[in-house]
Amino acid sequence: MQPATRPHTLDPANLDALATWLAGVLEARSVRFGGASLLSGGAIQENWRLVADVEGGPRQGRHDWVLRTDAVARLTMSLDRTGEFGVLKAAHAAGVAIAEPIASCADPAIVGAPFLLQTYVPGDAQARRIVRDPALEDYGDALTERLGAELARIHGITPPREELAFLPIPLLPPGRNEVARLRGALDAATEPRPALEYVLSWLDAHAPEPEPVSLVHGDYRTGNYLVQDRRLGAILDWEFAHWGDRHEDIGWFMARCWRFGGDAREAGGIGNREAFYRGYRSAAALPMDEAVVPYWEIMAAAKWATVAALQGDRYRAGGECSIELALTGLMPPEMELDALDGIAALAASGDARWQ
């Protein structure tokens, strides 16, 4: 098996079909592209930056856009681009800091796969660079507080929402529902993980009492937002959005596996926990329960362990010859250790709900 250059979906030399389709959607006389460049990141989808000149219609003028496709491999837990576009429109309407969604297309004939188009927002999303910025001392807590407030705005989106009808309402309490989703995903995994199954059984048995479900981003963490001039640019990567417990996102943001080595800053490796909670409370319609966040941090570890196992299977069984996928496939014990120690800490806390 030879390491393969990953095939790309979009052909930047042939954008005529995209231009024609887009002119129709934007009610324009014509759309012309000044080039397409592949942006870094996106193990699951491709991100292309496009400069477009629109003639006629409400969006006349020059635009800087990002086109995101479904790539060759897609995790079964992720939304397709059309679903993600619906979520983005709801978040944009709610005033969440995101790149404006422009259009989405389910027809694979236009660029080779379904795609969505958003405005280009400059900034850095590289997690390790962000958490190692020495200037975080000055701006980390302010950025953390802002991220807390943005998350509360996302959680202000609640069902029923006609445009989000494709998102299933969990029938079980969200904690138990997440466990069922992860178990379903693990059924397809090639490497058995007894410790992960043990963690999932604990999470199932200790799921918090359900509260009204909200829109959960599903991957709200450092690495999935843009930072520009020490400020938040935009929240990215909405493909794991679903209805669920708000605390799932908070636990995901706090989880040790998403601090990228910046362990001392518990909130995403960039700030302190209290700053995040303060920002969240400032914009939340419902009070948050800090006591259940550790439960969702354990869930975060279990979820990332599951995703890592499945990424590894893209090498083990999926025919993709990638050293990055193979190394990711070796990562589950890292998160299992955090989860097991998290369970032990809660059991030792004396709080009856965790016994």
Binding site: P192, P194, L200, I323, L327, L330, P333, E334, D341
Partner: protein
């Protein structure tokens, strides 16, 4: 000077050292992450050759399946079904943790060091 044997593990060690000393400094920035992944993969392979990474897992499996008919897949399935649980198997949490720690000694010993009391 003692004579050194040129074995699988020393060859890997040399390959990593050469990669780090002679190649990484001259690579363009966009290739350094790939080089770091290659070094990491080689180090994991070296530790796998040198370390017994399966004794904790077989201790637990032998304990739970004394007839010799168990493996990790069975154990995972029995934990999910509730046939094997902390209530029925004293020390299950600690024994599973020992399996995880054993894997991390090979896959990521630096992470183990960062977690106090893990090893």
């Amino acid at each position: 000077m003692a004579v050194r044997r040129i074995s699988a593990e020393t060859l890997i060690e040399l390959a990593v050292a050469t990669l780090r000393r002679e190649l990484q400094p001259v690579l363009p920035p966009e290739r350094r992450y790939t080089a770091a992944m290659i070094a990491n993969a080689l180090e994991i392979a070296r530790r796998e050759i040198l370390t017994d990474g399966e004794s904790a897992r077989w201790e637990l499996i032998d304990h739970l399946y004394p007839e010799g008919d168990g493996d990790l897949r069975w154990l995972a399935a029995d934990i999910r079904s509730g046939k094997v649980s902390a209530a029925q198997v004293p020390g299950l949490h600690e024994r599973l943790r020992a399996i995880v720690v054993e894997e991390l000694r090979i896959r990521n010993p630096r992470l183990l060091k960062s977690r106090q009391g893990s090893s």
